[in-house]
């Protein structure tokens, strides 16, 4: 019995070693960036490179936070992503509810439109959108950028909400309706609380998607006052002369901090969202 057990553990050894290699591949680059962010500008570029800072410093982080534009960039990042998710939920909940609960002529066509828009890549719309926005004078508008970002996540929001509502038994609604509740009351007081975990999932994925966007903001709101942390980061890469790598890595950490802090939630919802129904093919 004990030999069988130890056999099993020794049998696992190659797999455990392999797992550690995979762990290093996945987390190594991020940890290296993390370590660099605590090095002084000089230590970041010594040869041979140091694995961990000799005298860890927070100076890069204070420099990032003290930058005059930092809070504007941060505010824009927050405003665009939170705004986009709120818009997506406001329009996605009624549409998803109707998709799940009503059957009517033209519903298939409507859902096809939603599906089709999810297939149009943002890159193909750069030129026409830029042209149209320039023509009507709406470049560099925070509201326009927020709406464009929301459109990126609306199809999946509608789809997910429809699936969540479908999972709620209709009988609950029927009895509420007999008691005289209006459709709005039913959704607000009955459906929304029941599908709250689903809404949290959609919102989390939406926040990550829109927070991480670079292209939409960089192309349609190139003005410095309208840029996000992602755009500010890339601009620093372009400004390669006199680049301080330790400062850059501190910026990387700050720009990813919401995603890092939410990672526990994010990976849970990502995995359930990614694999839901996809496994059977």
């Amino acid at each position: 019995m004990s030999s069988a057990l130890s056999n099993r553990t020794t049998g696992q050894m190659p797999a455990i070693l392999g797992s550690l290699v995979i762990g290093i591949i996945v987390l190594g680059p991020v940890l290296w960036a993390f370590a660099t962010s605590f090095k002084t500008e000089v230590e970041a570029v010594v040869v041979p490179p140091t694995l961990w800072p000799n005298s860890p410093t927070l100076e890069n982080y204070t420099k990032v936070l003290k930058d005059a534009a930092f809070f504007t960039d941060l505010w824009n990042s927050v405003a665009y992503s939170v705004g986009a998710v709120i818009i997506a939920l406001l329009v996605g909940i009624p549409a998803g509810y109707a998709a799940a609960r009503f059957s009517f002529k033209g519903k298939r066509a409507l859902m096809l439109v939603v599906l089709a828009t999810s297939m149009v890549p943002g890159v193909a719309l750069l030129v026409p959108t830029y042209y149209l926005l320039e023509t009507v004078g709406l470049l560099n508008s925070g509201i326009v950028v927020t709406i464009i970002l929301s459109a990126r996540i609306i199809p999946q929001t509608v789809w997910f909400i429809a699936n969540f509502v479908e999972a709620v038994p209709v009988e609950i609604e029927d009895s509420a309706m007999i008691d005289g509740a209006s459709r709005f009351q039913i959704i607000w007081a009955l459906i929304l609380p029941l599908i709250r975990p689903g809404i949290a999932a959609v919102a989390t994925i939406g926040i990550v998607t829109t927070w991480n966007d670079y292209i939409t903001v960089a192309v349609f709101a190139p003005e410095v006052a309208k840029r996000t942390l992602q755009v500010a980061l890339v601009n620093q890469v372009f400004d390669a002369v006199g680049i301080s790598w330790s400062y850059m890595m501190a910026f990387v950490m700050v720009a990813s901090s919401p995603v890092i802090l939410m990672f526990g939630f994010v990976q849970k919802w990502f995995i359930s969202g990614l694999t839901a129904g996809a496994v059977k093919g």
Partner: protein, 291 residues
């Protein structure tokens, strides 16, 4: 109440969709129609100077640069896909067998996937920095000249593929793991009874059973790789010598540099058509929405 509404046409249900459709129309559908219209216009920078027929199409499709760009796009997609699937499958198999270590690692493995492309690009620019980066340092220690790394026209695309595979293989791993866990144990037991070894189990049970999942995962990733711009913008800017200029990067460059937007519209349409084709295939195979 459902059956009543189904039989006669009513506008009421449409109201529920109106806000969503309105936004999708303005942001997605109208520009989609407009880019087709734009592709038939003679343009000078951002000015439209009249109808052009198919001249933009002829110009783009007959230029060798367009075909170079197409080949680069396809190599980029194929290379990243191969890297991500091989690494993703391998790590799914290894982590599945590593007991607690595997489960613990699985918690962190999706991490790169949640980072933005600008962040991933910045981190790897630093790791690959020819003067101070750790990777060229290790390569040098091994007695090989690391060269210019991303500055080398022959190295830039392979390095970009490696970074893309690094960023996306955790996604493959998650999908493959989920698919593997849904394989009935009896199938493996049946192979054991027939005296089949580990290879037979992998080839005829694991691989066969997860193939549909791998297929749809590959399609999702192809769509992403094809439309990916930010990583290229950050890491190489399409260079050196155009060696990493993909179709999507070209559509981006054409938009911000605005040399001539007519041909850029044609390139955008090419990306659009490939993407919709892949997306339609995906929906047909899985009945789900991409993204």
């Amino acid at each position: 109440m459902d059956a009543d509404n189904a039989n006669r046409f009513s506008w009421a249900p449409f109201l529920w969709f109106t806000p969503a459709i309105l936004i999708l129309f303005l942001v997605t559908l109208y520009p989609t129609i407009f880019v087709f219209w734009l592709s038939f216009q003679k343009t000078k920078y951002y000015d439209l100077v009249g109808f052009n027929g198919l001249a933009n199409y002829v110009e783009v499709l007959s230029s060798p640069e367009f075909w170079d760009t197409t080949v680069i796009s396809l190599s980029y997609v194929a290379g990243s896909l191969a890297g991500a699937i091989i690494l993703g499958m391998a790590s799914a198999l290894v982590l599945n067998r590593a007991g607690i270590t595997g489960s613990a690692l699985r918690v962190f493995i999706l991490f790169p996937w949640t980072l933005s492309m600008s962040v991933v690009g910045s981190i790897w620019l630093w790791l690959l920095n020819p003067s101070f980066g750790p990777i060229p340092y290790v390569i040098q220690k091994l007695g090989i000249d690391p060269g210019l790394m991303l500055g080398d026209p022959g190295m830039a695309l392979p390095l970009l593929i490696i970074v893309t595979a690094w960023w996306s293989f955790p996604y493959v791993m998650v999908m493959a793991t989920a698919a593997m866990q849904s394989i009935p144990k009896e199938l493996y037991e049946a192979v054991e009874i027939d005296g089949g070894g580990a290879f037979v189990k992998f080839r005829y049970v694991t691989l066969t059973e997860i193939l549909p999942t791998l297929g749809s995962t590959a399609l999702t990733l192809s769509i992403m790789y094809l439309t990916l711009m930010t990583l290229i913008i950050v890491m190489t800017g399409g260079g050196p010598l155009g060696s990493t200029t993909t179709l999507s990067f070209e559509a981006f460059r054409g938009t911000v540099q605005a040399v001539n937007i007519g041909p850029t519209a044609v390139v955008s349409i090419v990306v659009l058509i490939i993407n919709v084709a892949l997306g339609a295939l995906y929906t047909r195979l899985t009945g789900r929405v991409t993204g």
